[in-house]
Symmetry: C2
């Protein structure tokens, strides 16, 4: 079955829950009203289902190939789809009008990328990564660099990549060896090898702008000696006309579990010409602008894939007749649709709760990235910056973990048929697994959340986040219909507050306390964020309890399912976190 964009649910989240049009109007952007946003999402849906969804299975089967050394061929149809995307101006959706873009907010862009990713993750990662390089250069570039590169990225004529990882330097970028030697003309000669470069080489665009981390000769050791460079595949003149080939070559493409249609390349820089982007030795911070953008983006793409897997599981559960359900026996068939079985419903509702909860949370996060940029009140911008810092690793890690778990459940709904290629769920599982590994593994996200963001300021910012959630529960508590959500949420907020304060204490004495707690802590905070989000969605839905639009009843039913059947997981997480680091750190290595 073909992927269908979850249009009504996105409308619910963007307009009813997050009130995006009103927010944008209050930030001086009244042109992005509800109708305009709807039009964009409708157009994205059509592009997704008509153009790239049909290439999804094909792209997986063909993968990328190297017909000649250094040349990468994307799967059949990818180039044509890319050209259509370009022709319709999609690359510029969230780019600034001064570079030829349409200036849409990030929250709309992320909704669009959920749709694109759900239809074809491998394909969508090409423009997704390119746009992240736009964000990087727009933030860190000089006026000349912006003028030269950004219109080319916004138009889609050129693509961009992010070159960080080396064979011996992944999580620990301080170990990287790629060198940048300054030249008399102000450029640098870049030499080194980068691996795992998404879209590092392809046949979709005329030129590729590689954003490369490298060390200058006199740089301090470790992460404080890393600078960021623009290294184009073809060297442009001042008018943006691509000229001579630069010494940047794709050495090989990886064979991967999934996203076969997205080229993952080894890129060799052999004295390639590059230009410093941002300040010398501040390259890691510069790259993190892009990285943080990507973390939210891959989170929403993961949500798109679990949505796609859910749609297949739901269709199967409604069609597949197997066994008798107590008290139904409606049809003339000698078996009932398996959606009548409690355990099949458990699997479907888990997916639905994961998807819709994660979607609302991710789009709220994207909204914060708009608020930090465009809100007229500086205090509100600062508040958004801080919240965004907490939520970015959460959205990335939580969405990708939930996506793997949900896609495994979607496959389980199909039984043995889920294991067969032609039913499509197995590709979703292979594709989505990457999200927990790249743009910083989920372990790295967890340490970013707990180690840096929470313990880094003694729990202050987390305390503010908990205060916001607690304030919400207080506004709910007088309403009887909200009690089933507000009471357990208030309890969870109190538990997380207590646990956070315990962790602030233990981490002062135990250097391994944060590492031992990080992953379950992120999941626990994830539950808190989802529980809060579900309560907010239930609150909106309860206002429409008389509506004939079934989304409101669906939201209330799913919120109830989440609170009753998934929220109990927090008890396990608290227990695991409180166990501390000793069982992890005491065993000698030879006992493993």
């Amino acid at each position: 079955m073909t992927y269908q964009s979850p249009s009504r649910d996105m409308q619910f989240v963007l307009q009813e829950l997050l009130q995006v049009p009103a927010m944008l109007a209050s930030c001086g952007k009244p042109e992005f009203d509800a109708e305009t946003i709807d039009q964009v999402l409708t157009a994205a849906s059509q592009f997704a289902s008509k153009v790239i969804a049909p290439l999804n299975e094909l792209g997986d089967e063909h993968g990328c190939s190297m017909p000649a050394p250094g040349v990468v061929q994307t799967p059949p149809g990818f180039k044509e789809a890319y050209d259509e995307f370009t022709k319709n101006g999609w690359h510029g959706l969230a780019c600034s009008p001064e570079h030829g873009g349409q200036g849409f907010p990030s929250v709309v862009e992320n909704a669009v990328y959920e749709i694109l990713g759900g239809a074809n993750m491998a394909w969508s990662s090409y423009p997704g990564m390119s746009h992240a390089t736009y964000v990087n250069v727009a933030t860190n570039g000089s006026p000349e660099q912006k003028a030269l590169y950004l219109p080319k990225i916004a138009s889609g004529e050129w693509a961009g990549t992010m070159c960080l990882t080396e064979p011996n330097a992944g999580t620990d970028l301080g170990l990287m060896r790629t060198r940048a030697v300054p030249q008399a003309d102000g450029s640098y000669l870049i030499t080194g090898s980068k691996i795992f470069i998404s879209g590092g080489e392809q046949d979709l665009t005329d030129n590729i702008m590689h954003l490369v981390l490298a060390r200058m000769p006199d740089a301090p050791p470790g992460v404080k000696g890393i600078s960021l460079f623009i290294v184009p595949k073809f060297l442009p003149d001042a008018h943006g006309v691509a000229g001579a080939r630069n010494a940047v070559v794709c050495g090989s493409i990886e064979h991967k579990l999934g996203i076969h249609g997205n080229s993952t390349c080894t890129i060799n820089f052999d004295g390639a010409t590059g230009w410093l982007l941002g300040a010398a030795n501040k390259g890691l911070a510069g790259m993190f602008v892009q990285m943080n953008h990507m973390r939210v983006l891959v989170g929403v793409i993961a949500i798109g894939l679990m949505e796609s897997a859910y749609q297949k599981a739901l269709a199967y559960a409604k069609e597949r007749l197997q066994g008798r359900i107590s008290g139904t026996r409606a049809s003339g068939e000698n078996a009932d649709p398996i959606i009548g079985h409690a355990d099949v419903r458990r699997m479907l509702l888990t997916q639905k709760a994961n998807i819709e909860g994660a979607r609302a949370l991710a789009l709220w996060t994207a909204q914060l990235s708009d608020l930090q940029r465009i809100h007229p009140d500086a205090a509100k911008r600062e508040e958004a910056v801080e919240l965004l810092g907490l939520l970015t690793p959460l959205v990335k890690a939580l969405s990708s973990d939930l996506a793997v778990e949900s896609t495994l459940l979607a496959m389980q709904v199909l039984g043995g048929h889920g294991y067969i290629r032609e039913n499509g769920v197995e590709q979703h599982l292979r594709d989505v697994r990457i999200v927990g590994l790249y743009e910083g593994t989920n372990g790295v996200q967890s340490m970013d959340l707990l180690g840096r963001k929470v313990l880094g300021d003694g729990g202050r910012q987390m305390g503010k986040f908990l205060d916001m959630a607690a304030a919400f529960t207080e506004t709910c508590s007088p309403r009887k219909a909200m009690r089933e959500f507000a009471e357990p949420l208030a309890q969870l907020i109190a538990d997380v507050r207590q646990l956070t304060s315990e962790l602030v204490g233990t981490s002062a004495d135990d250097p391994h306390a944060a590492g031992a707690a990080a992953v379950p802590y992120l999941r626990l905070v994830g539950h808190l964020a989802l529980a809060w989000t579900w309560a907010r969605m239930a609150e909106v839905a309860l206002k429409h309890s008389e509506s004939t639009d079934s989304i409101y009843a669906s939201k209330i039913a799913t919120a109830r399912f989440y609170y009753q059947r998934l929220l109990p997981q927090t008890a396990a997480l608290c227990g695991e976190i409180r166990a501390g680091s000793s069982a992890l750190m005491e065993p000698a290595i030879d006992l493993f």
Copy 2:
């Protein structure tokens, strides 16, 4: 890296924990002493690492193909490996000496299959399935059928398959349509199509004995009208010489997520000649002998795969230098092995606890299948039958779920490198995913456990199981060193007893209570079984606390990890179960 069989751990489980040689001696089988069992496991390890492990990646890449209609080619080298397995008499390991076998107990056979599966699951499934058909015919066959078929299966000259599923009949076999029309000579003509037939066609053996479920013309509807038939690919004469080709043809092979080297076939029976196996209309019960054998077998194969993935993750964690660990900085390198990180240890120890706990539990279950057959005391045999009934669905579902979770963690330890084919973990994930889906989905296992085995007798048998576990905790409680295990275990036993009694109550009024609880209940009982197993292993290890053999310290450390960091999951499961069925069953279908 090449798979290494976990020889020392298997010795620990078989000899020190389960005391298999003593058990066998007390059952009149003193010939299977510790030395003999060790020799078999050593030989299996050598075969696994030298012959089939090198074919694992190759088999995945090549897969099975159909060079001509009805003809299936297994991957290069599979036939030669099969011949070597045959030549060395492995097929007959657990077959009766009267059919040319060696009569080894099931517990040894299962240990061997863990090793084979860990080295190459796709290959191992061919002889594994064949041996399951041996068990079927040995139980259900007439003396003539046994004499004709069993020596051929025991020698490996012929293989066997299990033909149950049809396009419209999977979990609900009552819907099957394959027909068996009796002939004057006592044979039957079988007509119908079966799907998902593992090893349904191959190029490894001279003949294939299909065991096929079908309906006779006058059969009652549903599962009470299913009979079991032997349908050979080539019709044998009374001396076991294969003659004319039977009307059994492989229509196609499936393209699957994993186990590419194992042919999964559509098999068409077009008036094929077959013979009734066992009593008419009792075919499902007859097939369940084989099915239950397979459920334990695929459980141990799943354990082999997670062991294999763990070995890769552990090796990587010891070698990969990335980041600085507080307080270590031992080497001259500018980074430390990632095994020093608490979160990497969390992932490794979770795998280790899952693997070693599941292994001990599965081998205990296999031991029960020996005891039910050979114990001299009828009461002990009956006790083993009952326990085996509880533990079979548990071993199958728990091992396969833990295997997927563990393999995902193994991949996570490798970070982005885990997503790349050449590192091997991604194949393990693709291969192992099938185990939760076939031989009855894990949802079916859960309903077998809770619905049939637990609620079916009002909780009596589960009560006996809990009594056994409780008796163990009482023997431990005087010993101070055992308290950290015995106390939480006693609490868990009490919790499960209470919850089981609640479920007996609620399921009397609510037809969906069992279905709503089944999957978390199986996992909860799985935790109880694992916690009990880990406490038993710790008890054995504590007797050797002065030993220089590191396995004892390792067992104690892993038991402690399990109790501190994984056992808290039971709190979540209890909460989920107590939430009942309403959140699942109330939503109308259009709200999904």
